[in-house]
Amino acid sequence: MSTGLAKIPLSLTPLNRKEFVSDQEVRWCPGCGDYAVLAAFQSLMPQLGIARENTVIVSGIGCSSRFPYYVDTYGMHSIHGRAPAIATGVAIARPDLAVWVVTGDGDALSIGGNHLIHALRRNVNITIMLFNNRIYGLTKGQFSPTSEAGKVTKSSPAGSLDHPFNPVTLALGAEASFVARTIDSDRKHLTEVLTAAVNHRGASLVEIYQNCPIFNDGAFDGLKEVDSPAVIPLVHGQPITFAKGELGVVRGADGRLRVRATSDVAPSDLVVHDAHAKDATLAFELSQLTDTQTLSASPIGIFRDVDRSVFDDQTRKQVSMPLDRASELQKLITGRDTWTVL
């Protein structure tokens, strides 16, 4: 299965990046990670080959949710947290549209948590870009549901008490069929992951670690060093190693995943990543390697990519429009139990 872009008309002429740049001035802060994602997105779009008018971007509220204004396709900047619900309506109504959701950590995981999990469990054919900067930016710097515990912000001068969400774990818990994590600064990886996500049929969640230079600068610096020992790259079919191959993921005697020096284990002991496993257990276990407090470790890549029944496809399958709609409806209006008054 998994052709997320099936049924979408192709562009009759080749498109270029510039055609996806709207006439609106981009108003993110200088140095914001959102610029990098926007640029990668606008470069990616022409490569998909689909007609420009058949892309819809729905966003919620927050810095990242300004995204649709800057892309010259159809788009709606909607309500805080509600973008997945609105996108569900768009996706059910129109199989010929590529539907993207742009959201942030506060938008998707706090005020919109319910809509996110339900869109994922239903497996609506939408692609969700979750910009995670671990802070509320638009409202000027309060802790978010992904902020580390103890974070001192304007609304948490004594340190926040909230335990942070791991968006990948949450999505896998909702049995999402496509879950990935990438970083704003790694354009190549970002583009690859987004391409895989949009081509996946069903709901795709891509968590994008995104730096907020104003309110949470450097939140991901540890992951951005060359060959950072904190980044655990996930590649389907490959043994999971990182830190220049010095560390690897193995399964311990108790059945749990462990990080070990590769020099201490046999190569055959290394866990081989299987993003296509029907069962989400391995993906879930890998998500648990994330240190949500300090990001001393974080798997990056596609955790899970499996096919399962797609809600909007199934919904449309149940619905049909009769050839003679008016006369069929007239029969329904009349009903079966009438009496005639002369």
Partner: protein, 626 residues
């Protein structure tokens, strides 16, 4: 042979425990009444608990039916007949029964335990306390059990058919045809022959009991009502609303998309439309009320007719989405089947206290059209009107119904779909701006904006909740632009008044000093009260609003033409407040918030007292003049 007396009108109330099947019994009697050509109105009244404690007042479920050879606008005030299946249902309903009315009670249930449960010290069937009524205490349970004995059911299952025994008896008493109920039982229990046969046997036994015993001295008939010729069916408000939404979508040539979350008393609209998938209807049961509205808005954006249905608490949750639809200027039909509130309130009881919420329950200046159905069948027409306004003016529309209309039934002259005007969604397909650009917030003569559906080449554009520049739709924080856009959105909604019918006054005598103005489901009670007052020699005028925002253009003129304007509402005077504020007319409120429709008898008494007050004042003024 028992004598048959002709009656003009009868009100019957079937009452029993929630598990006694009273709603089904009432429904069947209504169907048989419909086929005889009587005019009728019904009032189902049931507890919110699915299985309330057995035998208690809280667990009483009732169904009232008013049928007549004249016209019927309400389910009636005082029943002429009460069928009481147990002591609780007698106790809960006896206060409403007309003096001299008929009681059919199941003697079997009037045992010490059941009597004690509802606080009867003595058995009312034998202590003389019901002497003012025609009491028929019959052992319905025993006779039902005996009648169904051949089908091998246990006593408990056997006795469950006693509602059919009661129905059979009433069918005989009111000379209804028996064959429809028998056919109904055949098809309903086709797969469970023992249940089918026992119910039929109980029904026939009840019928035979009436015929063969001499318990009833007379039986009654109610002739067919004089109504316009044509094909009729029975319809409830929720069914009519569902069909109206479908008809609106069909007339507009759009697929219908319903986003909904289960809530009483609106769920039946979701159920009805979920059965209509083969008519191009998509229903989406969302994770919550917010998502239901959001998905409907998304579908509307994608070119479907987006609809969301709910009741009061759900409206509160949807208000943010509705506000966005106001800002986007995107069509959306929102149906609020009102129930008694606030909070959970009384979910199965009716009220019309969401008017303020519909008119004002949003943040910012967020005007939108508000419509209200006046009767169960009118839910069909009001739905089409809602669709028309939403698409023509690019706006969310709120349609108000209520629990009484939702579940109440009446005869309906089946409309001809083809004769209903088509609705042109007029989606944009061409650029409308300079140099081939698209201006999503340019406006037509109605101040409506062009709608370009995603997938339309060359018209790619972005919309959103941030204030937009007039015309281009680009984000704008310019002070004058916001002021202009706020006023434009208001003017657009106000302008709808030019395309809605004037308020019509019913004043047959032409001599009324008093005008009774209503909205929503009070239409029936108000008209019935007007007739009662007229019969008592006090003519009053009536008028009814189906458009609550904007109000018909002549509303102020009508209000000012009467010495006294009375507004009956099932709230504390919400429309009255609006009219006072809008027209500076000193209208008077008549408020009842009991979870039940307004009583025509009570309202007519009030109207008579007001008319008499004017008469005395006129007489005094006459004396002074001399």
């Amino acid at each position: 042979m028992t004598d048959v007396h002709s009656l003009d009108r009868v009100v019957i109330r079937f009452a029993g425990d929630s598990g006694d099947g009273m709603q089904l019994t009432g429904d069947r009697f209504t169907s048989d009444t419909a086929t005889l050509g009587n005019d009728f109105a019904t009032l189902p009244n049931f507890p919110a608990e699915i299985r309330a404690p057995q035998g208690t007042i809280a667990g009483v479920s009732s169904f009232q039916l008013h049928f007549s050879q004249g016209d019927v606008k309400t389910p009636g005030d005082q029943p002429d007949v009460l069928v009481a299946m147990n002591p609780a249902s007698l106790k809960a309903n006896i206060g409403d029964l007309k003096r001299g009315g008929l009681i059919v009670a199941d003697r079997n249930e009037f045992n010490r335990r059941n009597l004690a449960k509802v606080g009867y010290a003595a058995d009312p069937l034998s202590d003389g306390s019901l002497d003012a009524y025609q009491l028929h205490a019959i052992d319905l349970t025993a006779m039902t059990v005996a009648a169904v004995a051949p089908f091998g059911l246990g006593r408990k299952d056997a006795s469950r058919a006693k509602n059919m025994f009661a129905l059979g008896l009433l069918t005989w008493l009111y000379t209804r045809p028996a064959e429809h109920t028998l056919e109904f039982l055949d098809s309903k229990f086709a797969k469970r022959p023992e249940i089918r046969d026992s119910n039929k046997a109980a029904f026939l036994a009840g019928h035979a009991f009436g015929e063969t015993t001499e318990t009833f001295a007379v039986r009654f008939e109610v002739g067919a009502a004089v109504v316009p010729p044509g094909e009729y069916r029975q319809i409830t408000g929720n069914k009519a609303l569902a069909l109206g939404l479908m008809a609106g979508a069909e007339r507009a040539g759009l697929p219908l998309f319903l986003g909904a979350y289960p809530i009483t008393p609106a769920s039946d609209v979701l159920h009805e439309l979920s059965l209509a998938k083969e008519h191009g209807v998509t229903t989406f049961q969302a994770e919550d009320e917010i998502a239901a509205a959001g998905a409907a808005l998304g579908a509307s954006y994608a070119g479907h007719l987006g609809v969301t249905t709910t009741s009061g608490p759900g409206m509160a949750l949807k208000s943010e989405t509705i506000s966005l639809a106001v800002m986007l200027e995107q069509p959306l039909v929102v149906c609020d089947i009102q129930r008694a509130g606030p909070a959970t309130g009384m979910p199965t009881k009716t009220e019309q206290a969401d008017l303020f919420q519909a008119l004002y329950g949003r943040h910012g200046e967020a005007p939108l059209p508000v419509l209200a159905a006046k009767s169960p069948a009118d839910c069909f027409a009001i739905a089409i009107e809602g669709v028309r306004i939403a698409l023509r003016y690019r706006t969310p529309v709120i349609i108000l119904s209520d629990g009484y209309l939702a579940n109440g039934a009446e005869p309906w002259l089946v409309p001809d779909l083809a004769s209903i005007d088509r609705i042109d969604p007029a989606f944009a397909t061409e650029p409308n701006g300079p140099d081939g650009t698209f201006l999503p917030y340019a406006r037509d003569e109605r101040l409506a904006r062009p709608l370009a559906v995603p997938g339309t080449p060359g018209l790619e554009h972005r919309i959103g909740g941030i204030e937009r520049a007039d015309g281009t739709g680009a984000i704008s924080y310019a002070p004058d632009n916001h002021d202009r856009m706020v006023r434009l959105r208001q003017a657009k909604v106000d302008g709808i008044a030019a395309e809605i019918p004037d308020l019509e006054v019913v004043d047959p005598s032409g001599e009324a000093d008093v005008l009774v103005l209503g909205w929503g489901s009070t239409w029936g009670p108000i008209d019935a009260a007007r007739r009662l007052a007229a019969k008592a020699g006090r003519p009053v005028a009536t008028a009814h609003l189906r458009h609550l925002n904007p109000l018909p253009a002549n509303t102020g003129e009508v209000l000012r033409a009467y010495k006294r304007v009375i507004i009956p509402e099932m709230n504390l005077g919400q429309l009255a407040t609006v009219l006072r504020a809008t027209y500076l007319v000193d209208v008077q409120s008549f408020s009842r918030v009991r979870g039940l429709p307004i009583s025509p008898a009570e309202l007519s008494e009030y109207l008579i007292s007001v008319a008499d007050e004017f008469a005395r004042a006129a007489a005094t003024a006459g004396k002074d003049a001399r």
